[in-house]
């Protein structure tokens, strides 16, 4: 059995094997082009965020006026995905502070999206930095979402956040009462604990007010708009996110071996903010979402062949995860182009 505990025995092994904060493979790319790809703009991200909020408002309004009819079901289904899945990519990109040129605009959206995707913002900022330092290094990476030795039905439950959201809520409660978990202590600097404490208090207050409103008006409707979409709208981000690293090599320092790039439709890329170009993102996290396709075109000859569709990626990932539940040594080995070995 692999021990994925962050800071546990596997962390020591990783350090002994030189896997901690190691140098990772970088493709050759012209510096002038990289400068263009790393350039930031406020306008494009603002249009994307506005379109997201408009879609949320539109389907939220449709869900409200159709409440009590069957039309509410598709309206809430779409609203839920916009809230509980699309917030993930906004959380992610603004967490890197690459969505907008402005740090304040990135941070403002980051805090909103963190609440929607149900993640305490400060802890996840540091866990994500660790994820980029030590990608899929067992014992170090706090964001290995799909572990080996785990029956696949548990991941089916995760389509609706059955374990992840309550576990996160438990941490919010602990943080709100002033307690910091061992996990947080492993990768989060002590001077940032107070941010986690206050973020948790604010997020819990918002949820408590929503519950109170639901009780007072004797309707589930407020919770269907705030809080519950983090469960019922979560399935799409799990479906997309599972293609990022699941089933690939662990404990390697080459992102071409532990990360996938998958071609996806324009609609999915709008929802996912081009995180389907995930190998490219991990190698160059300074490149904003809107330039990832250009980056992909510039370096794709040095990377493994991308998966042609989400379906094709899932067709590999799901059987692999089923096998890994009982065979933890099994993984998919990606082929690196011979010319750049």
């Amino acid at each position: 059995m692999r021990d994925y505990t962050v800071g546990g025995p596997s962390a020591l092994t990783a350090a002994q094997n030189g896997l901690v904060d190691a140098d990772c493979y970088k493709p050759k790319i012209d510096r002038e082009l990289m400068k263009q790809l790393m350039a930031r703009t406020n306008g494009l991200a603002a249009v994307h965020i506005a379109s997201w909020f408009i879609a949320l408002g539109l389907f939220g309004w449709l869900a409200h006026i159709s409440w009590g009819t069957w039309w509410a079901v598709p309206s809430f289904a779409i609203y839920g995905v916009l809230y509980g899945s699309m917030s993930d990519s906004r959380w992610h990109e603004t967490g890197h502070r690459t969505a907008f040129r402005s740090k304040r605009m990135n941070d403002a959206i980051y805090y909103i999206a963190s609440f929607m995707i149900f993640r305490e913002p400060e802890t996840w900022r540091w866990s994500h930095a660790r994820h980029h330092s030590d990608t899929i290094i067992v014992g170090r990476d706090a964001e290995i979402a799909f572990k080996r030795n785990v029956p696949i039905y548990k991941y089916v439950l995760e389509l609706f956040g059955i374990t992840a959201v309550p576990n996160e809520f438990k941490q919010w409660i602990q943080n709100a009462s002033g307690k910091i978990t061992d996990n947080q202590k492993d990768f989060q600097p002590p001077e940032t604990f107070r941010i986690s404490i206050w973020s948790s208090r604010i997020y819990i207050s918002i949820l408590a007010l929503t519950v109170l409103t639901s009780v007072l008006i004797r309707s589930l409707q407020p919770l269907m708009f705030i809080g519950l979409p983090s469960f019922y709208g979560h399935w799409l981000v799990v479906t997309l996110g599972i293609t990022q690293h699941a089933g690939l090599a662990e404990d390697v320092t080459d992102h071409r071996l532990n990360t996938r790039t998958v071609y996806m439709s324009p609609l999915t890329r709008w929802i996912y903010w081009n995180m389907n170009y995930h190998v490219e993102h991990h190698i160059y996290p300074s490149v904003p979402f809107h330039s990832l396709k250009k980056l992909h075109l510039a370096i794709k000859d040095q990377l493994p062949t991308p998966y042609p569709s989400l379906y094709r990626a899932l067709r590999e990932v799901i059987p692999t995860m089923r096998r890994q539940a009982s065979d933890s040594d099994f993984f998919i080995k990606r082929n690196i182009p011979q010319s750049v070995n």
Binding site: A22, H96, K103, R125, A129, P285, S286
Partner: protein, 106 residues
């Protein structure tokens, strides 16, 4: 204490809003030219993670680490965005005979 002006590179070898790497006696530096043309030399490695700032992104007086997006003020070395928290060292820099030089105190 001994002071020494060290030649980093030709003035023309760093474009505006860009940065180049300079290695000297086992140490590594980032030579930055901001959008107003002013050059500054700073320690090359990010104070947060093992990444060279010379692969980073320069925007105005800010340089961003290429690995975790931590940011530093090019003029003062102050860490302006997490995960960078510790300031980096910025050296007194001058242009002398079309060369970018910085003052190293040993």
């Amino acid at each position: 204490m001994a002071e020494e002006w060290i030649v980093a590179c030709d003035e023309t070898s760093v474009a505006k809003d860009d940065v180049v790497r300079f290695d000297h006696l086992g140490a590594t530096y980032a030579v930055v030219r901001m959008s107003d043309g002013v050059c500054n030399v700073m320690d090359g490695l990010c104070t947060h993670g093992k990444a060279h700032l010379a692969e980073g992104f320069v925007d105005g007086a800010t340089i961003e680490c290429p690995k975790h997006n931590g940011r530093f003020n090019v003029l003062t070395g102050e860490a302006t965005a997490t995960p960078a928290r510790v300031a980096t060292r910025v050296y007194q820099t001058r242009i002398n005979n079309s060369k970018i030089e910085f003052l190293k105190v040993n």
